[in-house]
Symmetry: C2
Subunit: 224 residues, 2 copies
DNA sequence: GGAGTTTCTGACCAGCGGGTTAGTAATGCG
DNA sequence: CGCATTACTAACCCGCTGGTCAGAAACTCC
């Protein structure tokens, strides 16, 4: 769609609407201002999600207290609650990223040197540190493994979502975001190794797997 | 350093060398050509790593045959070999990304709409599908969990490295890349949950953890 | 249909930045 | 020292694009 903010000419934008260049300035003060409006929309929606998530997490800790090692071993109720809470939050984030996937794409790949660069990557940085802190807490409670720096976990999780967001802008069909969120959480928590002791025939179809025959939808190619 | 290819003026570059604009063209045919040289260097080095890695993997399979479920349960020799092989390969990739971190940064964030955009993201896409295929194989051999789409695992791993690469360009000190690689592999394989049955005092220092007091080095701020 | 209002056009301007080149300084060498 | 070669400068050209504006077109309401 766009070749980056710098690469998109005013005429490109107006021509795509079937208008002439002059008409642009009847609707927006400048290219940056127009993009800024959309970005502000996305940004505030994202901040709302983050805020809500932090509050939810605080409420959880207030109501249920800190998790302990045995919670994970016996998959206690409050443990399952925490898991479903954060999976749900992540799904919300994925949905938002899908809705704004083109904006996110431009923000991430094509806003270098503009006022928007720090907005996107500041958000990413804050998310990394939020997730890191969350995991540091889990480590202190002996719920999460402690032989790994929390920042690496943060980068792992956020990096995954960042890359997925970029892939979204090349898809024409909406993927099963809920399946994505569930898969990611499963991987983060339990790892990719097959659960021990479980053997399955290699050729048969697996039950309750979180994906159809071929997971991602067809590619979307950038319009010229 | 750079405000993206489009954002960097010739005069900015020459001024940074204490020269005048005209002198630039005595050394390079164009901005793109200059950047292209560096990029080609990085790109061929990266492709070499990938090629070598694929060959190594093929040799492993030829010599040791496919892994089976019990290999992971009993942490067999060939399993450990496979793990250390891919950790080592990832470390090599991280080292290369560190050496070219500024180039990678520009390639990822500031090359939208140039000939270099597809180079970087094509590479990323190919890596995602390579990792996906690797995991699909592991799934068929019942070594990796099958209830997660391989492409999600691919995006998870590659996304992590992509984000880390971007963080590199803001660091002034080289982080412990080997620790990163080990942590990531541990997380990917075994997940983030604490190993069951292991209780540790929350306040004491953990043994053999893969990180010092504060993991990442200090930030580097972009020079104006 | 015509006055008034809104919406849009397309020619125009101005400045920025890539690329050129004539001329100048530095360097090397017999 | 004098000549040649190399390295660089700075003014210049020019195309491209953001932004402006007078006027045309469309639309509305009486």
């Amino acid at each position: 769609m766009k070749k980056g903010l710098r690469g998109a000419r005013i005429e490109d934008i107006t021509a795509a609407c079937g208008l002439s260049k002059g008409a642009f300035y009847l609707h927006a003060a400048s290219k940056e201002a127009l993009f800024g409006e959309v970005v502000a929309e996305f940004s505030s929606a994202m901040n709302l999600l983050i805020e809500r998530r932090i509050k939810e997490m605080e409420r959880f800790h207030a109501e249920h207290g800190p998790l302990e090692a045995h919670d994970v071993a016996e998959r206690s109720e409050r443990y399952e609650l925490l898991v479903s809470m954060s999976t749900e939050s992540d799904l919300g984030t994925l949905e938002l990223m899908w809705a704004y996937r083109d904006v996110v794409h431009v923000l991430m790949r094509g806003s270098q040197g503009t006022e928007f660069e720090s907005l996107m990557w500041g958000l990413v940085d804050r998310e990394v540190s939020r997730v890191s802190q969350e995991f540091q807490r889990l480590q202190e409670d002996c719920v999460s493994r402690a032989d790994v720096p929390p920042t690496v976990i943060g980068s792992l999780i956020v990096g995954t979502y960042v890359l997925l967001a970029q892939q979204m802008s090349q898809m024409e069909q909406k993927p099963d975001l809920a399946a994505w969120a569930r898969s990611i959480h499963r991987l983060i928590r339990e790892g990719s190794l097959a659960p021990e002791g479980r053997h399955r025939p290699a050729s048969s179809l697996h039950a309750q797997e979180d994906f159809p025959a071929q997971a991602p939808g067809p590619r979307r190619f950038p319009s010229p």
